[in-house]
Amino acid sequence: MEDNFAIRIENITKIYKGSAEPALRNISLAVPQNEIFGLLGPNGAGKTTTINILCGFLKFNSGEVYINNLSVEKDLNKIKRIVGLVPQDIALYNTLSAWENLRFIGNMYGLKGNKLKARINECLNMLGLEKSRNRQIKTYSGGMKRRINLIAGILHEPKILFLDEPTVGIDVQSRKVILDYLHELNKKGTTIIYTSHYLEEAENLCSSIAIIDNGEIITQGNPGEMIESEEEYTDLESIFIHLTGRSLRDN
């Protein structure tokens, strides 16, 4: 057992109840500590399913999953203390303000008082939301919601952070703020596992990636090295199209 893997997935197969096709087919992945790892794939590839399994929300049919060498099936409570999640959907209480949401989440992680206040303010400042902290979430724009959703996942300073499409549907400014912040977090020692179908974004951000399609990992490695590996690859997108084909997914 090597110690320096943040996550290790071994031969996971997941078949949702009632569906004939497996959502994940015998996938294996290993992400070392301190990486920014991109799990890339078209719609319906199995990205969210993978994240949900990593967080212990979903049972799986076979295989093993470790986070910091802790088994997701056995040590979920220990794992919960070190991971953070930014879900694909905006998982916040719409009628509470940003401040109320974050205070609730902070309290639930045992943070309180001035320390919590300072932490919330710090995060709001970093992501440019300090002026809107008392507005209810339902009045936020899409980009603001993405940013507050991110803060909610990192308030307790997790060692390993899962982000499920954190930049979907937002403008260049919001995207840049979020990506810069992720870089910042990574520099401070947070391992980041993030999913996306924005390949350019992943090319710039990630130190390693895996491409998943139809529940299978079709390639993984360092994005730069992958592009150089074949003559015809000019960027991640060309690799992606080459490997996954042009047909529509999720039909």
């Binding site: 929300f57 991971v83 953070g84 209480y93 009628t95 996942g153």
Partner: protein, 427 residues
């Protein structure tokens, strides 16, 4: 403790920002109890207290017509009307007005009415005093009864029709007896001359008095307030399931539940906070309903709600009812997949359970089979619990069986919700 209190605070914030939810929780039940009590009060009260305009045509112009007219006028619950647009009523107009629904009741006393009574009485008395031999077959005439006609608008309820009819019959029998009596005394005085004539005494020798079973501590009288406040309080308490299931489903749909699940050991804390807050809501509803009964309804001239001497029993049954409503809501919220499902199934099931449980119609007038079924409704347990306090002056020992059932129901529903959650591992 921090995590619990912050969860409670969060639930309270969510609740008070949900205006529609607040309306369902607090305003609707108060309006409901107000309206239902006022409506039922007028039917619970003696009929004399509501008045109704009745078209009246007296073709008789004799004792019966006069007696009925006076009787109706003095009854207090009926005002009679003998003209329409300045003209005296006739049969045709009465039929038209009632058919069109302008008036609900028309009464016609036919021309020969008093005469018929008198003729028949005279004939019978004559028969009684004459020699038996002189009665011949031909003389034993059949009297064609005079027809007093009643027209009713179909919207008039059967029970009301019946009471108008009974009132009329009372006057008719009264006048019939009086006439018979008068003729009889006349006849007698022909045989036994006397100075002091017998007087007809119209007041009955038998009257009816209503009494209620009371124990020596309890002087409560059943009235619409004592009946309605508990019924609609139980109903309102169960309606918390609408906002509660909405809350649970929203948390699940928004994905907030994912976040909660990723916090160590938070499921239970968040769920217990929800339970506590909704119990509190139920309790506030309960207090508001009592206030309606104690303060607002009396302002409208209704009787004051009497709580009776067993306040602790009252609190226990209120909490037990609140618990079972909350449990039911949590189960529905866990099992239902969409808001629509939860809201429609939730409200329909509550209405059915309320109907079965005797909230709308008292159990004792239900058919046998329904009476047996009614005991499966948790609303019935709550209602019976409250009734044993409000109507029978019961104490803790009397409500314990009901409270036990309610708490048992709460435990059962929460257990089912928990099992379902575990089995389906959905979020």
């Amino acid at each position: 403790m921090l995590r619990f209190s912050t969860s409670v605070y969060k639930e309270i914030l969510i609740l008070i920002r949900d205006k529609a939810g607040i309306a369902i929780l607090f305003i609707m039940p108060m309006v409901l109890v107000f309206v239902m009590t006022l409506i039922q009060d007028s039917t619970f009260r003696k009929l004399e207290e509501t008045s109704l305009m009745v078209l009246f045509l007296d073709e008789d112009q004799d004792s019966l017509g006069m007696a009925v007219e006076n009787g109706l006028m003095n009854s207090g619950f009926i005002n009679i009307k003998k003209t329409y647009e300045g003209k005296l009523l006739d049969r045709e107009t009465i039929i038209q007005l009632v058919t069109k629904g302008k008036y609900q009741i028309g009464i016609i006393i036919p021309a020969s009415a008093t005469g018929t009574i008198r003729n028949k009485a005279e004939y019978l008395i004559e028969q009684a005093f004459s020699d038996v031999d002189s009665i011949t077959e031909e003389e034993n005439l059949q009297f064609e009864p005079a027809k007093v006609i009643l027209y009713f608008d179909p919207v008039i309820k059967y029970s009301f029709r019946k009471s108008v009819r009974i009132t009329l019959e009372k006057f008719i029998y009264g006048i019939e007896s009086k006439i018979t009596f008068d003729i009889f005394t006349d006849e007698i005085s022909r045989y036994i001359p006397s100075d002091n004539n017998l007087k007809f005494d119209p007041t009955g020798s038998i009257i009816i008095e209503e009494r209620y079973i009371k124990d020596k501590y309890n002087e409560m009288v059943p009235n619409s307030v004592q009946h309605n406040i508990p019924a609609w309080t139980v109903f309102a308490m169960f309606f918390i399931i609408i906002p509660l299931t909405g809350n649970i489903i929203k948390e699940r749909e928004s994905g907030s539940i994912l976040r909660l699940k990723l916090m160590p050991g938070s499921d239970l804390i968040v769920m217990s906070a929800k339970i506590l807050v909704y119990l509190l809501v139920c309790f506030i509803q309960f207090v508001l309903m009592l206030l309606v009964g104690i303060v607002f309804l009396p302002m409208l001239g209704l009787p004051v709600l009497e709580l009776g001497p067993h306040i602790l029993a009252l609190i226990i049954i209120a909490i037990a009812t609140a618990l079972s409503a909350t449990g039911y809501g949590i189960m529905l919220g866990t099992i239902a997949t969409t808001h629509e499902q939860a809201a429609s199934f939730g409200s329909v099931s509550i209405i059915i359970l309320a109907a079965i449980g005797g909230i709308w119609v008292p159990i004792f007038i239900m058919p046998d089979i329904m009476q047996k079924i009614s005991i499966i409704s948790p609303l019935n347990w709550g209602l019976e619990g409250f009734y044993s306090i409000f109507l029978r002056g019961g104490g803790i020992r009397d409500i314990l069986p009901y409270a036990g059932l309610l708490v048992g129901f709460c435990i059962l529903t929460m257990f089912l919700a928990f099992q379902y959650q575990r089995f389906h591992k959905k979020f």
